[in-house]
Amino acid sequence: MKRLRNIENSVIPAVFFAVLLIIWQLSVDMGVIRRFVLPSPMDIGSTLIEILPNMYNHIFVTLIEAFSGFFISILLALVLAILMDSVKLVKKAIYPILVVSQTVPLIVLAPLFVMWFGFGMLPKIIVVVLVCFFPILVSLLDGLSSVDKDIINLLKSMKASSLQIFRLVKFPAAMVSFFSGLRIAATYSIMGAVIGEWLGGRAGLGIYMTRVRNSYAYDKTFAVVVVIIALSMLVFYLVKLTQRLVMPWSIEAERNRR
């Protein structure tokens, strides 16, 4: 039964997606939509194959920015979450500021970073951190505070220290929630780097994209979008794979709960 449902879960969206692509392809081929407004999937595919070799360097730069920002976010979130969870005053003081900070539009901030930090990788990494940091922090905090009170009491009855309770129970218990935050942040990380690159620089998918868009090469623009989607999916599954390796019980437990 379960296996059947899994197949169903992957087949239905795949078929639906294929149907959408076919409709798209036919609409362009039959002239319902004009080719220079919206290139067809096959146009995009062949363009992608053609320009991919030129993009390797850009992909590499974007990945470096995304990964650096992602890991800095993880470190920052870990430190802050532990601090906020153990000292309630810190949580009360910082949490509202963090929420407000999330409402400041990045598009406004990003040009400032370029002014302050130049056209190198740093301003892009900062944008990635701004995008990724918050979901990771929130998921960690949620995880840390969602631990069953009874299990903490049980450990207290065994005379466990606060540090032991944190290490043995709270932190591991927060991992499932932490990883769901990581998955979201991982997908955002590529997008964050691309947004950062729009403002200028030497290399990166965002820069490549601005270039091809300025020359009205829409098929190339779409090809870059495909690459961005592929990279985002890639990091998403990398995080999922890591979760499976680090905590095999969590995937199984999630599946059993369904």
Binding site: D148, I151, N153, S157, M158, K159, L168, W249, S250, N256
Partner: protein, 252 residues
Amino acid sequence: MTTYRSNHEIKLELKQIYKTFEDTPVLEGISLQLKNKEFVSILGPSGSGKSTIFNIVSGLLKPDSGEVIIEGESYTGKTGRVSYMYQKDLLLPWCRVIDNASLPLIIKGMKKQQARETVSPFFSVFGLEGFEYKYPFQLSGGMRQRAALLRTYMFSKDIMLLDEPFGGLDAITRAKMHQWLLGVLQQLEASVLFITHDIEEAIYLSDRIYIISERPAAVYKEIVINLERPRGRALLTSKEFMDLKAEILSLL
């Protein structure tokens, strides 16, 4: 206090425990005793304050007045002496069964490998052989409770508090667990204080039963169960058992 120290028979004594939560009196003068290797049940309706008694015995809560005495020493409000098991198994889902059972030893400062070696001989006693390296989600409800009891036992081998440990199990599994528990306890040197609201369970397992009233709880009646051990399923339909059940029912 010296009188208790000389009397090695008494492991645990509660003297006139009072506890009030925000204007609601919950415990009103609970006094009881647990002797060495005895199985004593606290039987009372839900919400009467049974778990509160255990929270006080384990030291998690301080009573408003009264004393907890363990082997002649005052342990009022002190944690870390008795082991405590809840109705929920509270196994850590990210730890294998053997590491769950090792948890108390890890807390006491033992290294992981040594803790594993210390607990592993008990897996056969507790009917958990072959489950050492499974994760809790791979176990049935009954097996999880076994693992939880093993962990409880690893913390304190002489005094165990069991708070409705089989309350979440279906009737058939629970009957099996009763048989299992009697078998396990025969091989251990443990005194057990057991909470339940199930009359048959209390009679079947116990040497003595304290019946407590509705909130605010006080000990209403103490009943000695003089049924022969080892006990088997046939006992459940015997006349002595029925008489005891009728007697307790008339009290509630």
